[in-house]
């Protein structure tokens, strides 16, 4: 049996709150440069608080949704220094021998709100040049 814990590091000011942006389908680049490091686009808000995302030559109108069930963003805890254990493992009296100790997961952030862009993107027609993704 594998057992590990999910913990939230106790920091001053509480756990960071992140935002989720939900887009339909996959993001692709025009060239094959891959996604990392690239600019995605601009996020505007109307004065009424409605989010608008401009990606390449697309306009996406979305809305802010408060999640009924928040998401926890989990990351694996970095390996602890287990050097002391190596000598102990020679000991024959291992308790609960069937249990495998896995590294714990830490809650890096909590997500309570997401920006959802469900509608079909509208194209920006009169783009002056080839610019943009």
């Amino acid at each position: 049996m594998v057992q590990f814990a999910i913990r939230m590091p106790q920091t001053e000011g509480g756990c960071p709150e992140w935002t989720m942006v939900e887009l339909q389908g996959e993001l692709e680049t025009r060239d094959s440069s891959g996604l990392p490091g690239n600019r995605l686009g601009e996020l505007h808000f109307t004065k009424g608080g409605q989010p608008i995302l401009l990606i390449g030559h697309h306009v996406l109108h979305g809305k802010v949704v408060e999640l009924e069930k928040p998401f926890a963003v989990l990351v694996k805890e970095k390996e602890k220094d287990n050097k002391d254990d190596s000598t102990e493992s020679m000991d024959t009296s291992v308790s609960a021998a069937d249990t495998e100790k896995c590294s714990d997961y830490l809650v890096k952030a909590v997500i309570r709100n997401k920006l959802v862009f469900k509608n079909r993107p509208r194209p920006i027609i009169n783009l002056p040049n080839k610019r943009g993704h």
């Binding site: 756990c15 992140w18 942006v21 339909q24 600019r39 808000f45 926890a72 308790s95």
Partner: protein, 396 residues
């Protein structure tokens, strides 16, 4: 494109080309970038309900327990949840520092660069489930307690388990584990949880009953401390107390001389023990004979009643003469479809009254015996008007 950041001017210009009404836009714009290290950012999204977030915020942990063979569960202090991975065709972008509109003070306007930490297409969901406890009995049967004098013999070399051991081996929350240990009448001796041998437990119970008679105490008012501290007790104190807790309830009593803690011996529980003692290993027992023997075996003053045997024994009313057999729910499979299969293998048609004690513990949250029957059984009416249930699927 990488590295070339937009200016606010460019962003607004693009917005204008997109035919957005600039006057209606917040003058602050967030420019979103995908992190250079996106590929190294291994994150998992876990959907939680707000109470669990509070639980984590308070510094508590959620425990994930799973075997290669079974699905992982997540346990809080008192509940168990199945962990399910859900794929989505949508892209879920995680933005560590996105500003909500109310955080963007309108004014001069500026362009803020914000980095997307990673993109997910999968998240984990939790669904509350019954704890998976069947393994507990199997583990505890490896070394059953049958008296201090036998502790070092050949039959008692099996593994013993501490609370921590059990928590790491059983897919249940601590509270659910403790409840199950109580249900199984397990006792905590020298740091280990042990099942007590059925006959040995009977001897302890009989000893208590004899002592109560001998001291002219009442079954519903056994002075706990006085019984436990009697000098010539032949059974260990921890077992005597355990037996009192298994077959009775604690109660504080007020006397003229002060208050005293007593145990109220439960008539139903004691009668059930004697019935199981008679039925165990016998197979079928003529009902009329059984009822007579049972009545005579229980302590004087206690009354036997067939309702006491709910979930312990089964009566076959169709055979002549009627017979009763030992059929404890605790020995049936915990998986619902396996349980129904076993029940319908034992008996083809069940009345609601007969089957209820054997499936009641299967009900998930908000589920009823009725909804379980709808799912796993088919109802029909016998010529005499009795409604019965039989299997919905071929019996394995």
């Amino acid at each position: 494109m990488a590295g070339k950041s937009r200016t606010l001017q460019e962003a607004l210009c693009l917005a204008e080309q997109a035919k957005l009404d600039l006057a209606d836009l917040n003058s602050n714009v967030q420019s979103l970038y995908l992190s250079e290290d996106m590929g190294d950012h291994e994150v998992r999204l876990l959907e939680l309900d707000s109470s669990m977030v509070k639980h984590l915020e308070a510094g508590n942990s959620l425990m994930v327990r799973g075997d290669k063979a079974d699905t992982a569960v997540v346990c809080t202090e008192d509940s168990t949840f199945e962990l399910k991975s859900t794929q989505t065709t949508n892209s879920l972008l995680l933005l560590p520092d996105c500003r909500a509109p109310e955080q963007l003070v309108t004014g001069d306007g500026c362009l803020l660069n914000k980095e997307i930490y990673s993109i997910s297409h999968v998240y984990l969901e939790l669904k509350q489930c019954r704890p998976k406890l069947k393994k507990l009995q199997t583990l505890l049967q490896e070394n059953v307690f049958s008296g201090p004098e036998y502790e070092s013999d050949e039959k008692h070399k099996g593994k013993k388990y501490t609370t921590a051991d059990l928590l790491s081996l059983i897919q249940a929350s601590q509270k659910e584990l403790m409840e199950e240990l109580r249900k199984l009448h397990a006792v905590h001796i020298d740091g280990y949880w042990r099942l007590v041998d059925f006959d040995y437990m009977g001897n302890v119970l009989q000893y208590i009953i004899d002592t109560v008679d001998c001291q002219s105490w009442c079954y519903d008012q056994i002075p706990t401390d006085r019984l436990l501290s009697m000098e010539d007790n032949v059974y260990p104190r921890v077992l005597l107390e355990h037996c009192l807790d298994c077959y009775g309830d604690r109660k504080g009593m007020e006397f003229e001389e002060g208050s005293e803690q007593v145990h109220v011996l439960g008539e139903d529980k004691v009668c059930r023990y004697f019935a199981e003692y008679l039925l165990k290993g016998v197979g079928k027992f003529n009902l009329a004979e059984f009822l007579q023997t049972w009545k005579e075996s229980v302590p004087v003053g206690m009354t036997t009643n067939l309702e006491q045997l709910e979930g312990v024994a089964l009566i076959d009313k169709k055979s002549h003469p009627q017979v009763i057999s030992h059929f404890p729910v605790t020995e049936l499979p915990e998986d619902a479809s396996d349980r129904f299969n076993r029940l319908f293998r034992t008996r083809e048609k069940w009345t609601l009254e007969d089957i209820t004690p054997y499936i009641r513990d299967l009900c998930e949250k908000k589920q009823t015996v009725g909804s379980l029957l709808t799912k796993f059984a088919r109802a029909s009416t016998l010529p005499d008007g009795t409604k019965v249930y039989n299997s919905r699927v071929p019996i394995k």
